[in-house]
Subunit: 504 residues, 2 copies
């Protein structure tokens, strides 16, 4: 077999993925409501073609041939081969019936989850969840390579080389640190006035503002677009087609605004992967966690920066056509960084968000590495919210039923969200050794930031593992202290607590 | 072979077509500008899969098997079989090299056409056009079944059972009739004031108005949508997903308005084909000409109706937010039906449009059924415009280079546009025997019109041939007199010529 044939096969798989990508995007951005049944047939047909190729003979042959002749591969071929082999090996021992049972179980669980949400009653979801867990536990031995614990196996599917040992350490540090910051804000801080957040801005006004902001940040509209949707996402169809979506509220401009800045971070990552990887699985993000680090760099690093907002505020006022003319910059900025514990993860602010993830992590770990009865889960959930955030869900919808992930057996996925926060802060720390970020964000030209991220993260796509990317970019392994320092700095400033007072 | 297998194969072909349909729609409605090269690869890959299936073994087997066992097919199966067989037989004898040469020639011709347009110089397109003609003439014997002349073969590809004999008759009648109406308007008529047509209406105002209008007419937005594009079109992805596109001008509201009404006519046709045909080639329009009859029924029958506009005008004024408050209904209506000869087909009004088609028809017939030197074509073209419309192109861009069709070897396609006009007027005449169309259009409920069209045309999809549809719906074959009568009525009314005066 020649490398060319291998790459041609990958290219065809990629072309099918691109077609599915556009259909998926279309489905979420305005497909006529009654078209979903017919669309499902198209999706499933294309997925069948895609799946058959992915596990087809040419790919199997390539894995076996290039395992013996690695030197016949170029750099791109090697990187692609590595990913193809990893994915293949993950699935190759899984009995077909087990894979099908697991997939069928998630369909059932999704229905059960929707029903349980409607009734706000976890007991209606419990059996389906148990079945998902049981089947996942059956799958783990087939997936396992050299991970230490069951939950490590799950973590690795989303964040290669991540372990429970690492996460236990960083999460306890972050949890305690955030709880400490919250305590100090409550004791010594002055909460900002947030009344201006509900002033009316039309969708067109918001769109005008945020489109310029993300173009300034480096999102390339000639290779992308921004559409409306219900559950916002970004999707990389190919190197020159990376699309963002958002939702808007005319009485809560911050939702669309930070939503688009966030998705643009994902989008810039995909737009800046080295084009030489296009048509292979290397032209993707390195992991969920690294992807999230890029969206969160935009949202919580740049989006929390006072200089950035000071520079953008006049244009914001202009777009709002008078609505904010009486609002001082300080009032505007401080309102954006108000913090208030919430029961719902996706409504959380940037200080408390990670706590939601840690709670889910602690529970998932109990499920897969310890023994816990499914019946106890809602109580465990609620107790943790009370302990860490001081609030308690009144029903399961506000609690354990809030997220879709468990219905799809996506166990081990959640920590990625928190890793993104920590990576983003750690990247900022490293970037600041070379670039005066505050100065750049006060200027007309943000390109030094985008360039740094492209050089250190984006360009590599999935050719490096997350831990390797972070080590190479920051000269150290994951270190959660940067996130804590950063959150403390931002929130103490907004809540008018001086650092000296803090250490008093 | 079982019917089920045949229908499954057709379904898979259809699923690939649906995917290509969405990709094509996306390409025209906002795909990022730099994505076109990557997209072309996806398109060509999917087209390859689609083409292989269309001429693949299962289809060949079905054609042979059900040719011998037609009774094993259901009604849907029979209708599908007929179309599949016709298409297969059209192509089966064409030598592969000839098909490829013809396809390659159109690519070259397209480039040459673009260049010639830029220089406004037909001589730069001449050789490529000659080559397209030469190859088409080579193809004709392979396509020919029992048509009388070469040009009949081409006509039949777009309008089954249409002949030069029929068209020569109807086109000369229509041409003379329209020239007579134009003469009378010029001699005795009073041209309406059209200054209000350039009053500013924003895209949002126009969209609001026209969306309600087409929904009133029966276009179902829950199974469709309306997007912006450069060259407007409608596309039926599947029974529940039929999309319209348009372009807008803020200083020429009539462009978007009649454009959307026109595309909605195509859309309603596709939405109302009997769902039982979905997933087979029967779930399509019967022909280009019939399709155009539906868009033109909306645009020139309903869109020229005084009662219709009288009813809609208050809402139009409301959408325009004051801009038309000082404009009387008569001034508004009359301005819409102003007629002025134009050199460019797509800018023509509904009185002179058909003349553009007839000119192209006469020239295409000279090329394929008579002898004519390519070098003479621009002069022939210009002479005909002068003779029929009293205007003469100053250069080839205003003349023979204006349309893309010849660069793609789409000879025989143009007459469909004119057939649509004649069919539309003939359908109106038949409909009026059962429905008081003026009364319906003065009311709140247009559904009797949509229902009549669904019952007589839409529901059948491609299960009937165009001449059969027209005969069954109107009790006679194509009769151009209805179009002439209709145009005379509308334009005499707007130009204040009384019919008695006309016959004096």
């Amino acid at each position: 077999m020649k490398e060319q044939e291998f790459l041609k096969e990958l290219k065809e798989i990629d072309l099918l993925q691109q077609a599915m990508g556009i259909l998926g995007w279309d489905n979420q951005t305005g497909m006529p409501e009654k078209a979903s049944d017919y669309r499902a047939e198209v999706d499933s047909y294309l997925y069948g073609l895609y799946f058959d190729k992915k596990v087809g003979e040419p790919i199997q042959e390539a894995i076996s041939y290039f395992g013996k002749h690695p030197d016949e591969l170029s750099e791109v071929g090697k990187a692609a081969y590595q990913l193809v082999k990893e994915e293949y090996e993950l699935q190759k021992d899984v009995p077909n019936e087990l894979a099908m049972a697991a997939s069928a179980a998630t369909s059932k669980a999704h229905t059960a989850w929707l029903k349980a949400r409607k009734e706000k009653d976890f007991s209606l979801f419990k059996d389906a969840l148990s079945e998902n867990i049981r089947l996942t536990k059956e799958l783990i031995p087939y997936w396992k390579k050299n991970e230490l614990t069951n939950y490590d196996v799950l973590l690795n599917q989303y964040e290669p080389n991540m372990t429970v040992e690492i996460l236990d350490n960083v999460f306890s540090q972050v949890r305690d640190g955030i709880m400490d910051i919250r305590r100090q804000l409550a004791e010594k801080g002055t909460a900002p006035d947030t009344s201006i957040l509900s002033r009316k801005m039309t969708e067109a006004q918001q769109r005008k503002f945020i489109s310029k902001v993300i173009a300034d940040l480096g999102y390339d509209f000639s290779r992308g677009r921004l559409d409306n949707t219900v559950h916002p996402f970004a999707t990389g169809i190919n190197h020159n087609d990376v699309r963002l979506t958002t939702r808007w509220s005319e009485t809560d401009f911050s939702m669309g605004l930070f939503g688009v800045i966030h998705e643009a971070g994902h989008g810039m990552y995909e737009q800046n992967i080295d084009e030489k990887y296009e048509g292979t699985p290397v032209h993707e993000g390195a992991s969920m966690g690294i992807h999230e680090s890029q969206s969160l760099f935009n949202e919580i690093i740049i989006g929390s920066n006072r200089n950035f907002w000071a520079k953008q505020y006049p244009f914001f006022q202009e777009c709002a056509e008078g609505t904010f003319d009486d609002v001082s910059f300080d009032t505007f900025y401080d309102s954006l960084k108000h913090s208030k514990a919430s029961l719902i993860r996706i409504e959380a602010d940037s200080l408390t968000y990670v706590i939601h993830i840690i709670i889910r992590y602690e529970i998932e770990k109990m499920i897969f590495n310890e023994t816990v009865s499914i019946d106890e889960l809602p109580k465990i959930w609620n107790d943790k919210y009370e302990e860490y955030l001081g609030i308690r869900p009144e029903n399961d919808l506000e609690g354990i039923l809030q997220d879709v992930h468990w219905s799809g057996s996506s166990f081990g996925y959640f920590p990625s969200y928190a890793l993104g926060y920590m990576y983003a802060a750690q990247l900022l720390h490293a970037m600041e050794k070379e670039i005066n970020v505050d100065e750049v964000l006060a200027s007309d030209d943000y390109s030094p930031i985008r360039k740094w991220l492209t050089e250190n993260i984006h360009q590599y796509g999935a050719s490096k593992k997350p831990n390797e990317l972070i080590l190479d970019a920051t000269d150290e392994l994951l270190n959660p202290q940067y996130l804590l320092d950063y959150l403390r700095k931002i929130y103490f400033s907004v809540y008018k607590i001086s650092e000296t007072q803090d250490f008093a």
